[in-house]
């Protein structure tokens, strides 16, 4: 496995996370195959990456050749394009059945050595890996949003993930300047078991009229020195995605801590999904 060199990366799903992952990989000179079921979403994703790169250059956060970086990314709706990739990073919505169907389909296309990184926010890795025949090559990598700016990811070892897969994953993450820390499998892992409690309860505080969103986030940024408050974070992730994740946490733990705030559900009904829709707890 030490000889296994990653040159190309297949990315499934071109939503918020998939877009960030694709940008990060292309920035780090990997060939990227970005797959989605919608051409429109793929084009939107590419435009976002382009803007992010231009913005990075403008803010002097980094210096990228925009066209060269963009050209590293192949957009496609055809999974067959994944036949030569060394690693697959999956970022599709948090629906176990949909994920499993996709893994089964893609595994028949990808080469045998391919590693499958599940970029889920809450679903236990073993829940996915155990249903597949190549479970030793399935590992959780929880990329955090916004991916291009992050320096750490939690890596989740499923109960049948091989040590080779863990080592390769950590080496791969190091190559894209992301530190990793390996934890054991659990719904929501470390990040979301904690962060979604904050977001959910912050939404309840808004609903109960205890505080305005600005006040809640101010307390977190100025008081706890978080770079971003829980409600801005929820807007960034997408309110619909936050609701899905909280529901998944509840389905595993059956604990009232994870009962989704009605405020969040109402926002989804109204189409107030955060930054991606222009309005969430804040207006964008």
């Amino acid at each position: 496995m030490g000889e296994y060199k990653v040159k190309s990366v297949g990315i499934l799903g071109a939503g918020v996370m998939g877009t960030g992952v694709a940008q990060k990989m292309a920035q780090c000179h990997y060939d990227v195959v970005l797959v989605d079921i919608s051409n429109e979403i793929l084009q939107k994703s590419l435009l976002t990456i382009k803007k992010n790169l231009m913005l990075n250059n403008m803010m002097k956060l980094s210096k990228f050749n925009v066209e060269e970086t963009i050209n590293k990314i192949l957009l496609t709706t055809d999974c067959e394009e994944l036949r030569d990739v060394d690693v697959v990073i999956e970022n599709i919505p948090e629906k176990v059945d949909v994920k499993l169907n996709l893994y089964e389909k893609v595994s028949k296309i990808c080469k045998q050595e391919c590693i499958f990184m599940v970029n889920t926010s809450c679903i236990p890795i073993s829940r996915i890996a155990n249903a597949l025949s190549f479970s030793d090559k399935v590992i959780g990598v929880h990329f955090l949003n916004p991916v291009p700016a992050q320096k750490i990811s939690e890596v989740i070892k499923g109960n049948s993930t091989s040590e080779d897969t863990v080592v390769l994953t950590q080496e791969f993450l190091k190559s894209i300047d992301i530190e990793s820390t390996v934890i054991n499998d659990s719904p929501g892992f470390v990040t979301n078991r904690l962060s979604h409690l904050f977001m959910n309860e912050a939404a309840n505080l808004v609903m109960e009229g205890i505080a305005e969103p600005e006040q809640i986030d101010l307390i977190f940024t100025k008081g706890f020195h978080h770079e971003m408050g829980p409600l801005h974070t929820a807007d960034l992730i997408g309110i619909d995605t936050v609701v899905d994740s909280i529901d998944i946490l509840y389905s595993y733990y059956h604990d009232s801590r994870y009962v989704c705030s009605p405020c969040l559900r109402k926002m989804v009904e109204k189409g107030e999904l955060g930054i991606k829709s222009g309005k969430g707890f804040f207006i964008y």
């Binding site: 231009m54 403008m58 002097k60 956060l61 971003m228 222009g278 964008y284």
Partner: protein, 88 residues
């Protein structure tokens, strides 16, 4: 509403209880960060129905309310020019 007023209103969401002058440098004075910059770009494109290109992504175009308004006026002018040319 005039361009500057719209930009000022947008900025007020980030700079609560702070009146930013039209020629005040937003970035030098650490009033905003890079996350804000992305939201500013999204706002400009959506609100004024223009598409910013690589050449527009120069910090001096976004440093003050004056420079943001100038950029928007220029871009809107070029959009109108394209429409007029297309119509001939």
């Amino acid at each position: 509403m005039q361009i500057k007023e719209k930009v000022r209103e947008f900025l007020s969401r980030f700079l609560r209880n702070y009146n930013v002058a039209d020629d005040e440098n937003l970035f030098d004075n650490k009033l905003v960060n890079s996350l804000f910059a992305m939201q500013l770009i999204v706002f400009i494109e959506r609100e004024f129905e223009i598409a910013l290109t690589n050449d527009d992504f120069q910090l001096e175009n976004f440093q003050t309310i004056n420079s943001i308004a100038t950029l928007i006026e220029l871009k809107k002018g070029s959009v109108l020019g394209e429409i007029n040319n297309g119509g001939q």
